[in-house]
């Protein structure tokens, strides 16, 4: 498979937007794992990143804002043969749909969750999101953000996630490898992807990230990973991975029908 086998159309993101690189990294990861596009389901959120629903030539379910995980879980449960990738922005993943993330971590259905984290609600033109830094001024916080931001990695680790990683859209090769590991992981996998929004985020710019980012060479123990997630450092890589039985039910897609008359007779 070639990366182009998964792609279609021409994205309309702003030139230089981090979303381009994430799309490329995902297509490369799928190609390197040789997954036929017919067996891939992408579930997209609503947002700038979510617009990629139009630019993938796989099966796609474009869900509601904050709601890409539940359909992804439902699909994977009934058809475990599919590779299911759910996508969301930080607004969708950590705001509107944060409850779903918490539970996806627990349930451990093998779905890959790619969060395009640009620290803003971008599609609605730059309001502060749950990951916007303290004291940042945005159109919705003209006097600066006063709330503590969500810490996605610490949240996922504490909620019982079995694969927790951070990627950077500015390093496609590294991100591609992360996505491959996530797809191969037997359980739910979160990758929080730092994605500069070149148009609206003048704080967390490409250069800002470049200065702070460094690579982890291997996953850490749970407590260490949790501590690192809480620190001011900005490493990318797999923070934490454990092998835990994934959620599994027999595939239901071709299941024959049940003889209901026996069940009815029990009410005689």
């Amino acid at each position: 498979m070639e990366p182009n086998d998964y792609l279609t159309g021409t994205p309309t993101w702003c030139p230089g937007c981090g979303n381009f690189s994430i799309r490329i990294a995902l297509s490369q990861a799928l190609a390197e794992l040789n997954l036929p596009p017919k067996d891939v389901l992408l579930v997209a959120d609503v947002g700038c990143g979510g617009n990629e629903n139009n630019w993938f030539k796989t099966y796609v379910f474009h869900s509601l804002h904050g709601r890409s995980l539940p359909p992804a879980l439902g699909a994977k449960i009934v058809n475990p043969k599919l590779t299911v990738i759910a996508q969301a922005g930080d607004g969708g993943a950590y705001g509107e749909g944060a409850n779903h993330l918490l539970h996806a971590c627990r349930i451990n259905v093998p779905v890959v969750y790619l969060v395009h984290n640009n620290q803003l609600y971008s599609l609605t033109a730059g309001q502060a999101s749950p990951t916007t830094g303290v004291s940042s001024k945005t159109v919705s916080t003209p006097f600066g953000v006063s709330e503590v931001p969500v810490n996605p990695l610490a949240l996922a680790i504490s909620a019982g996630a079995s694969f927790v990683a951070r990627g950077f859209s500015g390093d496609i090769a590294h991100l591609k490898e992360l996505i491959k590991s996530a797809i191969l992981h037997k359980g739910f996998a979160l990758i929080d992807i730092l994605q500069p929004c070149v148009t609206l985020n003048k704080v967390n710019t490409f250069a800002w990230y470049k200065e702070r980012i460094y690579k982890l060479d291997k996953p850490l123990g749970k407590v260490e990973a949790f501590e690192l997630a809480l620190s001011d450092k900005l490493p990318i890589g797999i923070f934490y991975q454990e092998s835990r039985p994934p959620y599994y039910r027999a595939p239901l897609v071709k299941e024959p029908d049940i003889d209901v008359s026996k069940l009815i007779a029990e009410f005689m």
């Binding site: 796989t58 359909p71 439902g74 009934v78 897609v253």
Partner: protein
């Protein structure tokens, strides 16, 4: 012979199970039973009643006068004595106390069940068979059997029935669930809520037959998981009440625009908000008919009794798949938790709608004459498409051209044309040429049918499929029209008024209880 028996006492004293056992044993002995429970939103304490109408002819509703009261505590006699019929009989006090002491307090309800069975002049072996099945392998089996026998032996036969052959006895919840299983449902996501909990629990118990039952983190997740499963070609459902459905509404619109089949079982209860969570009402018809932002096609069906719960549950899945839209099966607490002696039938030809054999340039949302486009599912070669919550073109890609938009909206509604031909028509009960016609929907049917026995010049039109709304002009022409509903504002009444340009009379009830047959009689007497 027909009598109303109430089993009453503290919540937590085994009233539900006593009632169910008695109802099943009576049905198995060849009698007809209609039963309904009434309980507060508590696990223990508070007053709990299970009412059974037992008869040798079919019964459809409760009545107001109590012929046989089983008072598991003294307070129950005080609470119910104003309902006593002239020849009433009470099982209480000394007998219950004596045997409860002998076989254990937990067997008090079984002493009572035994006594009632004896009073009804029925065969104890039938009752012991039911108790044996119910408590098979449980430590209380033996004491329950002994308690029931002691109760049975302590009374003299009092009421006599002409028994027919044995029949099924089950609740609306069970019938809905069995319908879903018969329809080949493979995925259910259900967050607990009264009145659909027995449905969740029954499906969960039977899930090893080969379907998945999930308890999601909330109803938003529930319906979306079901949509994800349905996207993969699996027949999927959710079940909820008003509070949960309110959370599902955004996703209902998603099902509408992506044309993803889904069946939503909706058991109404007395709102608004938490309202009276264990009481009944038919007050969400207007809500489900229009819930969801934007305009899209849906089906709303209101089964009216336990048999219809089964038949229309089966049909709901067939319709959802064939027409690729959401189907809401609207019941209420009274119906979900009513038990009836029934035979279950379905006239639906079970058929999986075939999926497309996609070639190159597969158009999932192709414009077709009947509005139904070919469907592919993940895993099918060349069938890749975007099930898009944005307005889309025939491939599913986002598209906001005005021409495409108008055509897509039309396409999603064209289905209604074909659908109207396929849906069952409203059913008329009674004489076609009666001067007065009652119109209603849902579980009000039972009390109306029971009341009509006294009004030969009144007929009754039951509207089962409420969206799309059927043409009912042929039924009502030249008649006085009365609409009866279990709500305050007349949700069907308003619709009939607007739709048929007539001025019907409306009677509503919104005290948390469905009408009894006698209350409908009063309404009709007053409307003369």
């Amino acid at each position: 012979m027909r009598l109303l028996c109430k089993i009453a006492g503290f919540a937590g004293s085994g009233i539900m199970s006593a009632g169910e056992i008695l109802g099943r044993a009576c049905s198995r002995a060849g009698l007809f039973v209609f039963a309904s429970n009434d309980y507060p939103s508590l696990i223990r304490g508070g007053h709990n009643v299970f009412s059974l109408v037992i008869s040798d002819a079919p019964v459809y509703s409760l009545f107001s006068k109590v012929d046989l009261l089983v008072a598991l505590n003294e307070e129950s006699i005080e609470l119910h004595k104003k309902e006593f019929s002239e020849e009433h009989f009470v099982v209480s006090g000394e007998i219950l106390d004596r045997f409860a002491k002998e076989f254990g307090e937990l067997s008090r309800n079984m002493v009572a069940v035994g006594a009632v069975f004896g009073l009804l002049t029925l065969d104890f072996n039938v009752l012991s068979g039911v108790i044996n099945e119910r408590f098979a392998g449980k430590p209380q089996l033996d004491s329950n059997l002994k308690a029931a026998k002691a109760g049975f032996d302590s009374v003299k036969p009092k009421f006599e029935f002409k028994a027919k052959s044995k029949q099924l006895f089950l609740s609306g919840n069970h019938a809905l669930a069995l319908g879903a299983i018969k329809a080949g449902m493979k995925f259910a996501a259900i967050y607990p809520i009264t009145p659909i909990n027995p449905m969740l629990e029954y499906l969960a118990l039977k899930s090893d037959c080969g379907f998945v039952v999930e308890t999601p983190e909330d109803e938003i997740s529930g319906i979306l998981m079901a949509l994800g499963a349905s996207h993969c070609g699996v027949r999927s459902m959710v079940a909820t009440s008003g509070a949960g459905f309110s959370l599902m509404v955004e996703s209902l619109a998603l099902a509408g625009i992506t044309e993803t089949p889904i069946v939503i079982f909706y058991g109404q209860r007395a709102g608004p908000a938490t309202g009276m969570p264990t009481k009944t009402e038919q007050s969400d018809l207007a809500f489900v008919r229009s819930a969801g932002h934007g305009e899209f096609a849906r089906i709303v069906v209101a089964p009216a009794d336990v048999e219809e719960c089964f038949s229309e549950s089966v049909r709901a899945f067939q319709l959802a798949e064939k027409f690729q839209l959401p189907v809401i099966v609207l019941t209420d607490k009274y119906l979900n938790e009513s038990f009836q002696t029934v035979s279950l039938k379905s006239d639906v030809k079970m058929k999986r709608e075939s999926f497309a054999s996609p070639g190159s340039d597969f158009k999932r949302y192709a414009f077709t004459a009947d509005g139904i486009s070919p469907r592919s599912v993940p895993g099918q070669p060349d069938g890749m498409f975007d099930a898009n919550s944005d307005e889309h073109d025939e491939f599913g890609f986002s598209c906001d051209s005005p021409v495409n938009r108008a055509k897509m909206v039309e396409k999603r509604f064209v289905k209604f044309g074909l659908l109207k031909k396929e849906l069952p028509r409203p059913v008329l009960y009674g004489k076609k040429n009666a001067k007065t016609i009652i119109i209603s929907w849902g579980s009000t049917k039972g009390p109306i049918l029971s009341a009509l026995e006294k009004f030969p010049d009144v007929c009754f039109l039951q509207i089962q499929y409420l969206t799309p709304f059927p043409d009912i002009s042929e039924f009502i022409k030249g008649k006085k029209v009365i609409v009866i509903e279990n709500n305050k504002t007349g949700q069907l009444y308003r619709f009939v008024k607007e739709h048929c340009l007539i001025e019907p009379v409306f009677f509503g009830k919104f005290d948390g209880y469905q009408f009894t047959a006698d209350q409908i009689v009063e309404v009709l007497d007053g409307a003369k």
